[in-house]
Structures are given as C-alpha cells and as structure tokens.
C-alpha cells in the first residue's frame, strides 16, 4: 500500500511552474529521501503532501484522503522545517504539552529525554533559541508526534555535525521500534543515504529519478580512457558528464549498463559514482559543468 500517491500534480506560483505534472508513489512505512537542486520543487511538493499548500491541478492522495484542509491528514502527519514557528509566550515544555493535546501518538517521555540530552532547558522560550537549537527542538517535536506520516524539510539546518548525527541516530532508532512513513529532504545526501530505503530526485518540478537507494548508487559509472577510443565508444550512449584529463585522456559518466570485461579489454578504468554524485550528474546534464563558464567562446 502506498501512503502517498501523486498523479500529474501541478503547482504554479504566479506564472512560474514549481511542480510540473509530477507523479510519484511513496510506500507506507518506508524512509524516502527527497533530493534535488535549489528551487527544484522539493519544499512545494512536501507542503502539498502535508496539506499546507493546495496544488493548482492534478490528483493527490495522502493516507487515503486529499490533504488540503483535511483534519485526518493533519492529525496523522507532521511537517517540520527550520522556519516552523511557535507562539512566543510558550516555553518549550508548554509547546510539548500542546503537542500532546493534538497528536494521538505523542511521546512526552521521549521528547523530554531528548531535550535533556540536547541540553535545552524546558523553560526556555522558542524564539530565544539559536538557529541550530531551533532546528533541534523542531526535529525533537517531529519525532515525538510519532505521526504515521512524518516529513522533515531540511531538518538539520544550523545543527552542528554532532547533533546532526545524533538526530539521524534517534530517527532511525525510533523508526525501527515504530515504523512509519518518513520523508526527509536534504542537500547532504551523503549524510542521510544510509538511512534511506528510497531516493526521490526532483528536477524542474518533475520526478527525475525514483529508485531504491542501492540502485541509485549503481545507476551511473565513471570511465577513464584514451580520448579517441573512449569518445568513439560512447558515441551511441548518453553522457552525463565529460571532462578532459591532460591531452590524451578523458573521463565520462554514463549509465551503468556496461560489461566490465569489455571495458578492461579496451584499457578503460572504471570508477563507482556515489549516490550524491549521481544526483548531481543527473540534474546537471542540461547546462554542462562549471568549467564551461570559464571557457571563452
């Protein structure tokens, strides 16, 4: 069963298309990483899924309902980002108590223990927290709701490295004990990739890639070889990235449908492409590399 089903979802802001007929399905009780360049449409998609924004057109089902203005979706989901605001008059403990009133699965004990661990006094006022501590508190709030659909949009903004890794650890441990559908968007794919079951790569408001994490890791392959030979060999293939190395060698990145033995016979060397590099190559295609900016035309 899928927790989320989007069919041809379009969102326009003014004349600009933020989502351009995006379709996707997210299985129940899985962790999916939402990745993409700045402005690709990640936050827009997540907000529509959470019911915070209404789509312009298309069909969307979340936990069996249309999310916008749905109390059912609202009570069973949480959307956490770094601009989440809480009333200024409430202390952190007050906010947790409000959480307990609204969210049926609320984990007060977990929330308070996490605050203590992250050294955040319960009597603090949210707006006085530093950027990193705000993100930490919001993330704790998100975990404590134990919502069937938990959405983190760039949850670790401002957190230091140690808090980030503690947060991901807490997230995984709570997920193992209480599986739920989790979406996390991040610019640091390498930080979250081990947590993920799926990666959804969004580009220009569309689904560019949606695969199991291991399939993303093996999606592309990098090949080094003598320029004439390699260029001839890749003629019929789609090249995601190409770089000259010195006068005689070239490096290309292509889809990984190749026989290693064939490459060895031609004297080519191969290199694995990490998940985060694959996402960059796949979305960089249309405009060449940074080197092109410096090439005189």
């Amino acid at each position: 069963m899928e927790a989320i089903k989007c069919t041809n979802v379009v969102k326009k802001y003014g004349g600009r298309l933020a989502l351009d007929h995006l379709s996707t399905e997210i299985p129940t009780n899985s962790i999916t990483g939402i990745v993409g360049r700045n402005g690709a449409g990640k936050t827009t998609l997540l907000k529509i899924i959470a019911g915070l924004t209404r789509e312009t057109s298309g069909d969307i089902q979340v936990l069996g309902a249309h999310p916008f203005n749905s109390l059912q979706v609202s009570a069973n989901s949480i959307f956490i980002d770094d601009v989440l605001s809480f009333p200024n008059t409430l202390t952190l403990l007050d906010i947790l108590k409000e959480g307990e009133r609204f969210y049926p699965n609320w984990q007060m004990d977990l929330a308070r223990r996490l605050l203590e661990y992250f050294e955040m006094p319960e009597q603090m006022v949210h707006s006085y927290l530093s950027k990193g501590k705000k993100s930490t508190f919001n993330a704790v709030f998100g975990l404590a709701t134990r919502s069937p659909l938990t959405i983190f949009d760039e949850p670790t903004t401002g957190m230091d490295a140690s808090v980030r890794s503690d947060f991901y650890r807490a997230l995984l441990k709570d997920y193992l004990a209480h599986p739920r559908t989790i979406l996390i968007s991040s610019h640091h794919v390498d930080e979250i990739e081990d947590l993920l079951e799926y990666v959804l790569l969004i580009d220009l408001g569309k689904t560019k890639l949606h695969k199991e994490i291991d399939d993303v890791r093996s999606f592309l392959i990098g090949i080094y070889g003598r320029t004439e030979l390699l260029e001839h060999w890749v003629k019929e293939r789609e090249v995601y990235y190409r770089r000259r190395i010195g006068d005689t060698e070239t490096y290309v990145v292509i889809e990984n449908h190749v026989e290693k033995e064939e490459l060895e016979k031609l004297g080519f060397k191969t290199e694995a492409i990490s998940c985060s590099d694959a996402c960059v190559y796949v979305t960089n295609q249309r405009k060449g590399g940074i080197d092109d900016v410096f090439t005189r035309r």
Binding site: I31, D194, L196, E197, I213, D214, R217, A272
Partner: protein
Amino acid sequence: MILQTDGQTPIYIQIAHWLETQILTGAFIAHEKVYSQYQLADMLQINPATAAKGLNVLAAEGILYDKRGLGKFVSEDAKRHIKEKRKDGLLHELMEQIVEEALYLDVSKEELTSIVENVYQEKRDRKNGSH
C-alpha cells in the same frame, strides 16, 4: 564493521560479506540464529530494508535458512559453502588486483611469490598463536 559508502560495493552486499566472515570465524555456528534486520539496522545505522536485502542474499544462496517467525539461522554446511564461493569469487578478484599492481611496479613473479609466502606465514603464525 565499517560500511564503505563510495558506491563500489552495494551496502547489502557488504552486509552479506560481513555475515559470511562472522560465520567463517565461528562467531556464528551452524543452526545458530543470526542478527535480525532490525538488529543489523541499529548496529550499522542503516535502513532495515537494506539490512533485509543482505540477509536475503545469504538465504537465497542457502547459507542461511528461515524459521518462520523466528528469524534466520546458519545452515549446516554454510562454512563450506562460503569457502568455495569466496575462492572462486573474492579471492580471485583480489588476486587479479594484486597481480595487476605487481605488473605496474615491475615486480617479478618470483618476488611476488616470495611476498605471498611471507605474508601467508605471518598471518598463519598469528592465527595459530591466538588460539
């Protein structure tokens, strides 16, 4: 175990390899229960689905077997099975890398053989000494 995330070897294959090594070293014996996907996920900070894939690889090869509702257990002849498989696979691959490096460095066959003999001796002494 430290997972390599450079994409060279899929995580679930690394998990399968690691469990195989655990079986070879006797950390798990025949008919003993191995880690569950949840234990592996917690230990290695990975998604439980990835951990399950690693376990399923070994189950498909007959190195582990399933007891419904109880988890996965080490097969009777798991050790022999792993040794045979690795001789054909991993050992051969590593050997190719070694020979390739030796050729780059103009190391003769005799030199290479003597290095192998020395390392072999050293490792075997250490292994026997530790028992």
